[in-house]
Every structure is written in structure tokens, then in C-alpha cells.
Amino acid sequence: MRLKLVPDETSIDFFSRTKLWLGISAVLIVVALTSFFLQGLNYGIDFRGGTTIRTESAEPVDVGAYRDAMQGLELGDVVISEVFDPSFGPDENVAMVRIAPQDDVEAVSQETIAAVEAALQEVAPDIRFTSVSSVGPKVSSELIQTAVIAVLLAIGAVLVYIWLRFEWQFAVGAVVALVHDVALTIGIFSELQIRFDLAIIAALLTIVGYSLNDTVVVFDRVRENLIKYKKRPLKEVLNISINETLSRTLMTSLTTLLALISLLVLGGDVIRGFVFAMTWGVIIGTYSSIFVASAMLYRLGVKRDWSKPDNPTGNQFADVDA
């Protein structure tokens, strides 16, 4: 007995309401961007500079007491938050203390950190500092720049690759889908105020890669079917292609999600934000490869005659043999 995610033959019509799908996506993007511009991201120290100290103690964390202890130090903006994770034992009480960058220096003052640690030790004598990070404002502004360049570069490279392997309409479809995925991911980070640090950029790029992976598989089939069914209207060819690949699309998304969800639940709080971004990205990436990338392709139209020799052909790699 086989588990089947999708019946053997499906003929779901994905393209009768492309305007609706694209409209929903457009609205979501607008919502995401509005949130981003109004509320902004909760940047970690990688991007805004400053210091974070991770503490661990056997006694429960008393955020108020911690804050009072640090009151006298005049550190400016201090954020203290307790961290929860199912993997923590009863004597593991973890908190994160974030201190805004001190205006005086590029180099981070070790005295400040020592003073904070001493103050916290007053409150909780057994407290340990399991990690301490400081980033100077100079580096953090560069990190933002590099991150933005990395994401743009990735999207650009992909645009070129797909353009070379397929046609420009495919490339535009794929890239619109990517922008959609990246925008919605940034949107949810801004809406939920999840800390946005360097690792999230890595997650964004992975989402770009994953979403593309999905899109390309669908496009590959579209290309094949465009040759196979020369006379059928584009909408029908697209529908056939998506239905044929639907089982694979869902299988792969599901196995990836299985892996990611176990990491999300069991992987510890240090990388939770990172894994959350990827999980979210896989879900919207799967959605966008059908409802954004292919819908765009449908709206743009595509060249139908693939028999000319100057076109890149679908079985360029097919004679590789094991």
C-alpha cells in the first residue's frame, strides 16, 4: 500500500484565476513592505552594532532585577529577554542581554562588558555567560551592505542562468517569484519582530535557491510539453505540466519540511530564527513556483516554436550515462 500525496491523474485548473493569484501575492507583498517600512526589522547586533550577552543560571530569570542591576551603568538602550526552549533542563534559565553600541568607540569596550557581568553576578551569583558578542558600528554597516549585495547578486545570477537555459519570460517569472519569496520573508520577520541577523541572510539565499529549484523543475516540464503539445493553448500546456509535476513538488516540499520542522523543534534556540526563515521560505517557495512563477509565465506568454536549432534544448544533458 503506497502513500500517495496526490492522486495518479490530476487535472486541477491552476490558470483560470491567475489574476486573483497574482493579485493576492501583490497584496501580500504590499503588506510585507508596509510592515517593513513602518515597523522595521528587529536587527540583531550583526546589523546595528552593540553587544549581546547570553546568560545561564540555575535560578529563574528575573528580567526586572537584571534591568535594575544594570541601571547604574548608563549603557543607554538595554534589552533583556528570557529565552525558552524545550531542550532546556529545569536548571537552565537563559536570558539574552542586548546593549546598544556605545557611542565612543569603534572597538568594543571590554570594561563595559566586565561591568555588566559583575552587575548581573550581584543578582544571580551562579550566573554564567555562555556567549558574548560585540560588533562595532563600522562593521555592522558593512555587513548590511554585503548582505544586500549578496541577495541581489544571487537573484541576478539566477536571472541570467534561467535566461540562458530557457527564455526571458521564464527568467522573469522565476525572478518575480523570488522577489515575492524574499519580500514575504522579510515581511514576516518585520511583522513578528523576530531578530534579523546575518544567519537570516543565509536563510534568505537558501530560500532563493530552494524556490528556484522548484520553479525550474516546473519550467523544465513546461519546456518539454511545449515541444510535445505544439498545438495546444499555452494555458492547457501549463496546466498539464503543473499537474504532472505536482506529485514531485509536494513530495520534495514535504520531505524538506519534515527535516526542517524537526530542526525547528529540536535544534535549539540559537538557530531557531534561521530555521524558521527556511521553513517559511519552503512553504511560500512551493506556493510561488506554481502561483507566481507559472502564472507570470502565462501572463507574459511564451514563444511556441522550440524546434529551431538555436534554442537551448531540453535534453542537452540527457546522454550522460551512468
Binding site: 555562555t130 558578542s133 545570477a157 524538506t256 523543534v265 551512468a322
Partner: protein, 556 residues
């Protein structure tokens, strides 16, 4: 139909076996690590029974490469330092002054007296009393200019190392743009080398010391207690000089003469020395420094100069018996003994108020050499070993659970073919670890996430093929044909889909740093191994099974 040549089969299995063999040491991480450390220690300092025993914990003939654990998994310290390259400009100019003086002396008749003026550190100003001789003086100084010698940059149209200009009887000398660039380059190289030596002296495992960009150095040392400790090891410049003493006093703000400076005493508070700026000898001329004890059994540091330094030191002591000279470390006077006699041998002892630890550290610092310039720390991170251990544990459990879920799911969906895919998936992880060990890659926490993601995505290529085989079975030209066509047709999708992911992995690797880079590596290699196992290994498994059983029909 469904033929795979014998040699190809052998190659595939050989590749898999090699990968697994390379990955195997990671299963015995602690034992292999101990073995490797012991072997390295034996090589460095000779063999002892204890070391031999530790080394025998893992047989020598087996591969012993391991995946390095990143800072976030092992704990340790991370620093990003910017080298203050401008520091060196002043020293370069100062060293030019004696030459310029010597070049101008013969022209006294024309230019009158020569005097060094106070100036910002990156400029040298020389006043001459007779402005009408300015042209000649300029010419003489310009003649001293040399072509920039650079190790990396191409000679930039024969650029000169200094720029000389004159106005109203004042000659201004600055370093040229090209010389600055070349100096920066040398400073960076030197700083890198010295930081590396200092960290090696302390003897920690697998430190990363990398240049980043034009002026920065990234330092990661696993196992060290804190960033502060690391800073103490590398942050001290340990600039040692021996300078003639002009005067001593208690006023730090007294006006020093031109070419002189006022420095505080290290031990005696409130005591300041006025010293001549240009040193007799510097720490660069040291060949050795060892911790020792002075005649009163107090910790001290013994040092020896190279021939050049020994001669300069010998000549100076011979000529200045009875006058004090200062031993200066990082702009503080350690001591200022009076020269009792001519010291010809080029060795000596530094005494001061040291503890044993301080004298040992000072000796290490002197031996490793002085940092050519100061460092600014732009980024510091300390990760405690417990947090690292927790992260590894969480990562391990999550990976195992993810693995189990995917394995079960694949069997549920594809039956026997799912088992083939699962074997390939397990081999895939083995190969991935083998590759990572082979290149000595660093595994970070996001790197573990990369592996988990690979587990999820690795089945994708198999899924593509299996789905395709299902479709081909519908057109019913026999199972063998379906399998063959399934592979053929799925290939272009597999290749396109994975190349796009590889592109993003490469960009991540190029732009990212630290943990992110670790993620890019596991993701990139994971894609390579998963394509290999899906396209070659699973296929070989299926073909082998098919040949044995010759089923009339198959269900995927």
C-alpha cells in the same frame, strides 16, 4: 538496455567506499582527535610514553581527517581586528631623517643650518636657514627617493617612495601614495605573521588567522576562554626599543625638544623620561628572548641581538659609559639602567617588577616580534564550550529525527524504490562527511542546518526520477525501458534545479563569513553528493536489483 559497464560500477562503488572511509573517523571523534593531537605533539617536541599511548588510540593506517568544529560548536573566541596602518608612516619617515640630514650636510654653504621642525606624524618638515638654497636642498632630498618596492603591486610607472616639496625655506617630505600602499601591504603581512606566531606559541588547536580586505585580520581560536584573553595575547604591540635618555622628571606635559619624546615609567608612578626619539636598537633586531631570573632571583627576561643589533648596541655602550639608556616597551620605560661598561656580546637582561608569568609572556612577545602597528577590534565574540556542546547535541538529535522521518516517508511513498533511495541517502551523508573531512572544512551550527536541509532536498533528485518512471510506466513499454527513460528525462530537471542552488551556495560562500560560510559549504557539497548518489548510486542499485530479479512489472 539498462547496461552499466563493469568499470563504471567499480568506479561508483570505489567512490562510495572512499567517501565512507574518509567519513569514518568522525564517528570516533574524540579518539581520533586525541590521536591527531598526540601525533602533532610527537612531531613537535619528541615522543613520550603518554603521547605514544594517546596516538595508538587510532591506527595510523586509517584516514584520520576530521571535520573541524566551528567556534559556535566548540566554543572559543573570534576577533576582527583592523590594523592601524597609518602608525607605520611616522616610523618610516623618522627613519628617513638621518639620511636626509647626511645628504644636506655637505650643502651647508648654500642652505645654512638644517633643523627638524615639529610636524604631524605623517609629515617630515626640515627648515633651512638660507631660503635661497631651497632649490639645491630639494634636489638633494629628491635624490634620496627610491622606486617603490612592493611585493604584490606592479611597479606603478616607477613611482617614487617620497614626495618632496618646499616653501619659504621649509622642506616638506611625505610618503607617496604608492609607497603608502606598499607599506600598508607589508604592515598587514607582518601583522598576520606575528599574530600567527604568537597564537602558535600559546599552542591552541586549529586557529584561523585570515586576512580580510585591505586592513583587517580575522582571528578565530577554538577552545580559548574569552575574547579578552585572546586580545591579551595578540593585542599587545610589544614594540621594544632601546633609546638614549636625555632627562628624567615628573612633568608629563613638559615640552620635549625636537626629535625627543616624553614617556612614563612602567613601575614608578609619576616618573617620566625624556628620550631621544630614534632608537639605538629595536626589538626587530632581537634573535632570542627567554624568561630567566636576575642575580636577586627576580623574574627577568634574557635577550640576544643579531649581529647588526649587537654591533650597534656595542658601539653605543662603548661611547656612552656612565650615561643612562632606556628599555622601552610599548611606549613605557621598563627600566633605565646606567651603562656600566662596554657590552660587546649583544646580549643582555631586562629586569623590572615582573611576575614569573609576566616575564614568560614578555619573552614570548619579544620572540614573536613586535606588531608593526596597533590593532582596533571591530568585532569580538566569545562562545562558551557548554553552549557549543548544547548546540551539537541539539543538532545531532534534530538531524537523526529528520533523517528517520524522511526515511520512513520515502518507504511509505515508494516502497522498494524508497529503500533504494534511502540507501543512497545514507551513503550521501557518509560521502558528505567524507568530503568535508578531506578538505578539512569547518562545521558550524548553520552548517548542521545545511546538512539537515540536504537530507530533505537530497531525496528530490530521486523523487524526480521515480515520478518520471511512474509516468513512463503508464505508457507501458516494459519496466526496463521505463526506468531508463525515467532517468534520461529527469536528468535535465535535476541538473538545472541543482545548478541554481549551487549558484546561491557559491555566492553565500564568497560573501559570507564564519558560520554562514560553514552553511554554504555543507549546502554546496551536499548538493554535489546528493546528485551523485541519486544519479549514479540509486541507479546502480536499481539496475543491479533488476538484473537479478528480472521482474515483469514494477511498481514505483
Amino acid at each position: 538496455m539498462l547496461q552499466i559497464d563493469l568499470w563504471k560500477r567499480v568506479m561508483i562503488w570505489a567512490a562510495v567506499a572512499a567517501g565512507i572511509a574518509l567519513a569514518a573517523p568522525n564517528l570516533f571523534y574524540n579518539r581520533v582527535e586525541q590521536h591527531n593531537d598526540a601525533v602533532a605533539a610527537i612531531e613537535r617536541q619528541g615522543s613520550t610514553d603518554e603521547l605514544r599511548e594517546q596516538a595508538s588510540g587510532w591506527p595510523d593506517f586509517l584516514p584520520s581527517g576530521l571535520v573541524n568544529l566551528g567556534l559556535d560548536l566548540r566554543g572559543g573566541a573570534h576577533l576582527l581586528a583592523e590594523v592601524r596602518v597609518q602608525d607605520v608612516y611616522a616610523a618610516r619617515l623618522e627613519s628617513l631623517w638621518p639620511q636626509i640630514r647626511d645628504a644636506l650636510r655637505p650643502l651647508r654653504d648654500e642652505i645654512g643650518t638644517i633643523r627638524l621642525q615639529n610636524s604631524p606624524p605623517d609629515v617630515l618638515r626640515i627648515a633651512i636657514s638660507d631660503p635661497s638654497g631651497q632649490g639645491a636642498a630639494l634636489q638633494a632630498v629628491r635624490d634620496l627617493a627610491q622606486p617603490v618596492s612592493s611585493t604584490t603591486a606592479l611597479p606603478q610607472g616607477g613611482a617614487q617612495n617620497i614626495e618632496v616639496s618646499g616653501a619659504d625655506g621649509v622642506i616638506t617630505v611625505t610618503l607617496s601614495e604608492a609607497e603608502r600602499a606598499a607599506t600598508d601591504e607589508r604592515t598587514l603581512q607582518q601583522a598576520l605573521e606575528i599574530i600567527r606566531r604568537r597564537i602558535d606559541e600559546v599552542g591552541t588547536r586549529e586557529p584561523t588567522i585570515q586576512r580580510q580586505g585591505a586592513q583587517r585580520i580575522l582571528i578565530q581560536v577554538p577552545g580559548i576562554g574569552s575574547a579578552q584573553e585572546l586580545k591579551e595575547i595578540i593585542g599587545t604591540t610589544a614594540q621594544l626599543t632601546f633609546q638614549p635618555v636625555v632627562n628624567r622628571g615628573t612633568d608629563p606635559d613638559a615640552d620635549p625638544g625636537v626629535g625627543e619624546e616624553i614617556l612614563p615609567s612602567l613601575d614608578e608612578e609619576g616618573l617620566y623620561y625624556t628620550l631621544e626619539r630614534s632608537p639605538v636598537v629595536t626589538g626587530e633586531q632581537l634573535v632570542d628572548a627567554q624568561p630567566t631570573f636576575d642575580q636577586n632571583s627576580r623574574p627577568a627576561v634574557n635577550f640576544r641581538f643579531n649581529t647588526q643589533g649587537a654591533r650597534a648596541f656595542g658601539d653605543y655602550t662603548a661611547a656612552n659609559i656612565g650615561s643612562p639608556f632606556a628599555i622601552v616597551l610599548d611606549d613605557e620605560v621598563i627600566s633605565a639602567p646606567v651603562i656600566q661598561s662596554h657590552i660587546p656580546g649583544g646580549s643582555g637582561i631586562i629586569t623590572g617588577d615582573f611576575s614569573i608569568e609576566e616575564s614568560t609572556n614578555l619573552a614570548v612577545l619579544l620572540r614573536a616580534g613586535a606588531l608593526p602597528a596597533g590593532l582596533d577590534f571591530l568585532e569580538e565574540r566569545t562562545i562558551g564550550p557548554e553552549l557549543g556542546a548544547d548546540s551539537i547535541e541539539a543538532g545531532r538529535i534534530a538531524t537523526l529525527v529528520a533523517f528517520a522521518l524522511v526515511l520512513v516517508f520515502m518507504v511509505l511513498c515508494y516502497g522498494l524504490f524508497g529503500i533504494f533511495a534511502n540507501i543512497a541517502l545514507i551513503l550521501n551523508i557518509g560521502l558528505l562527511f567524507g568530503l568535508l573531512s578531506l578538505i578539512g572544512a569547518t562545521l558550524t551550527l548553520p552548517g548542521i542546518a545545511g546538512i539537515v536541509l540536504t537530507v530533505g532536498m537530497a531525496v528530490d533528485a530521486n523523487v524526480l526520477v521515480f515520478e518520471r518512471i511512474r509516468e513512463e510506466l503508464k505508457t507501458a513499454r516494459g519496466p526496463a525501458r521505463a526506468i531508463e527513460r525515467g532517468y534520461e528525462k529527469a536528468l535535465s530537471a535535476i541538473v538545472d534545479a541543482n545548478i541554481t542552488t549551487i549558484i546561491t551556495a557559491i555566492i553565500l560562500f564568497a560573501m559570507g563569513s564564519g558560520p554562514v560560510r560553514g552553511f554554504a559549504i555543507t549546502l554546496g557539497f551536499g548538493i554535489c553528493t546528493s546528485v551523485f548518489t541519486a544519479v549514479f548510486v540509486t541507479r546502480l542499485l536499481i539496475v543491479t536489483w533488476f538484473e537479478r530479479r528480472r521482474p515483469k512489472t514494477i511498481t514505483v
